[in-house]
Symmetry: C2
Subunit: 351 residues, 2 copies
């Protein structure tokens, strides 16, 4: 087990590239500002990728998968065995994210960082199980510090491999029955909001289930007293293996200047952890959507990120991020492929 | 000139197909409702196309282009000659909508229904000029009733041709320097809101330009007194050739059960006209986005449509609709391509 993970250093945004991209935006055949948020997104991509002509050609969706001991407390509408079943469904092409990755021209990879059940080898699955699911955070830490580090390192390693294969933009998603509970606990640690405003119904809890889930998060926080200035310890106490891998993946992507399109509740909780290690990671994050899970908006606010989509999605798997990917790609393509007024022989307005 | 256009009859939505699609949605491998607005969109597509398995494979972007005599009154930041220049830019691939149509896998066609300048023949351009731009609505009607009918018929004819070539979903856009002025006038007629809340800065007017544009719309309405219960007369008095063609295209698409993804301010003004002819056309319209042009939200409210995107776009050309197209396609593909719990061997939650 690689337990020597350290948060990587994150390069500053390239402001010269952003400025050059802005200069080009101004010359494109459209009224200035008429592409709205896509204009700022295109120049942000330039600053992240350190080029005035950012690219969104090579796209990968990485789904980090893990199970959660806290499901013993009845915090999910679905049984834990669904995590492994859904991994099969991802790679067989029948899950929502598989459909969306196909449509968007992104390759799909699943990382088993902590699925409880054994998974057969598959070319689209990275077998990197740190342990078969976390322990129940109500009875002790979800994992050891060494396990949390190992899961962070899995995220970093997989991004390094995917980057070597060609990666312009990374889409991150999650799979893990029960994982909105650790995500809510981490959100409470890093946003300072109380569990009752952060905890939602997940995949479909009723009122009693919701009350139980809030109580579980409150108990876990009371037991472990995780602190925002000790992110590794917080992750180990109340986090999840796939959440740790997501945080490690984000940091590794940002270290390589690869923009990350974030999915919803779980991925954003991981972003809060990543930002606690390295605040500059935020500059490489694009919020794909705002989830229907009510606490998600608070988490995005804490990261100062504005989501691209708001479609009441609450599936996870990276689905909201994949749906936002065409907008990110469009921002880059418009900047790159549109003609300037001079090239097209179109009259600019008199200035 | 075909001046015998009549609004077509619009078939009712197929509620049996919608119900069958809902039944399938319920069995897909995801928590019920977790795909948010895309679930209702997928079943709406089923009801429009009259099949439980709607398709978004064959996609066309149609841009209706025309010029406007009212530009003489100084209502636009750009000169009229830009309309023809941009048509060249569309078919040469350098305009925003050309980039987006390529990305989204949609064919792009431009319809010259009233561009002032002569346009050379081009395989992507339908040459259907009714007249070389409208007259100045401050001095008389923008066009005759026969011309308005002819422009409506052009929209219908082009949709018939495109439908024969294979058309699952139609994306509509506009090009016409000065056309936010007639669009605002029509919006005032059909929403009942005063010009000052409907008129915006278009491609970039300053404060004095905005005040002038509001006054122009007020004067045109005072002169012609167009009425919501006489849409052909209103269109002729204060409309535009491309706006008429857009309305004709929407009605023709709805008549053939082809869903229409609407762009922003101009296309939505055309939708108000179309709905005045046949209120049922609304059921076949999907609002691609909400424009930054402030009056657009009022127009969407009047049609009871909720936009998919809200990215502060205000370009026109069909750009906002093209950006929403992947969401519409995703809705259909998720419904069609996702596995059911039974197919995937995934445990549904205990009910």
């Amino acid at each position: 087990m690689t337990a020597h993970w350290q948060p990587p250093s994150i390069p500053p945004l390239d402001e010269a590239a952003r400025q050059a991209a802005r200069e080009r935006q101004r010359q494109l055949t459209k009224p200035p500002g008429s592409l709205g948020r896509l204009e700022a997104l295109s120049t942000a991509l330039a600053a992240m990728q350190a080029t005035p002509r950012p690219r969104v050609c090579h796209k990968a969706v990485l789904i980090m998968a893990g199970d959660h001991g806290v499901t013993q407390a009845g915090v999910s509408a679905y049984p834990s065995e669904v995590t492994a079943q859904m991994v099969h469904n991802f790679v067989r092409g029948g899950a929502a994210i598989a459909v969306l990755a196909r449509q968007m021209g992104a390759r799909l990879r699943v990382v088993d960082v902590g699925v409880a059940a054994p998974l057969p080898p598959h070319p689209q699955v990275y077998a990197r199980k740190v342990r078969p699911g976390t322990a129940n955070m109500l009875q002790g830490p979800a994992m050891t510090l060494a396990e949390a580090q190992a899961a962070l390192a899995v995220g970093a390693e997989v991004v390094a491999l995917e980057h070597a294969a060609g990666l312009d933009v990374l889409v991150l998603g999650d799979m893990g029955i029960g994982n909105t509970t650790p995500a809510a606990a981490l959100a409470a640690v890093f946003t300072g909001h109380p569990p009752r405003v952060l905890v939602g119904r997940g995949t479909g809890l009723d009122d009693a289930g919701l009350a139980r889930k809030i109580a579980v998060v409150e108990q876990a926080l009371a037991r472990h007293r995780p602190r925002a200035d000790a992110p590794l310890e917080a992750l180990a106490a109340v986090g999840g293996l796939e959440i740790a891998a997501l945080a490690g993946a984000m940091l590794a992507a940002a270290a390589r200047r690869v923009p990350v399109v974030m999915d919803g509740y779980i991925v954003t909780a991981a972003a809060l952890v990543a930002a606690a290690f390295r605040p500059a990671v935020r500059h490489y994050l694009i919020a794909g959507h705002r989830s229907a899970e009510p606490g998600h908006a608070r988490m995005l606010e804490a990261l100062a990120l504005t989501p691209l989509l708001n479609l009441d999605l609450r599936l996870g798997e990276g689905s909201g991020a994949a749906l936002a990917l065409p907008l990110v790609e469009a921002a880059a393509r418009l900047l790159n492929e549109m003609s300037t007024f001079a090239e097209a022989g179109v009259s600019d307005r008199p200035s």
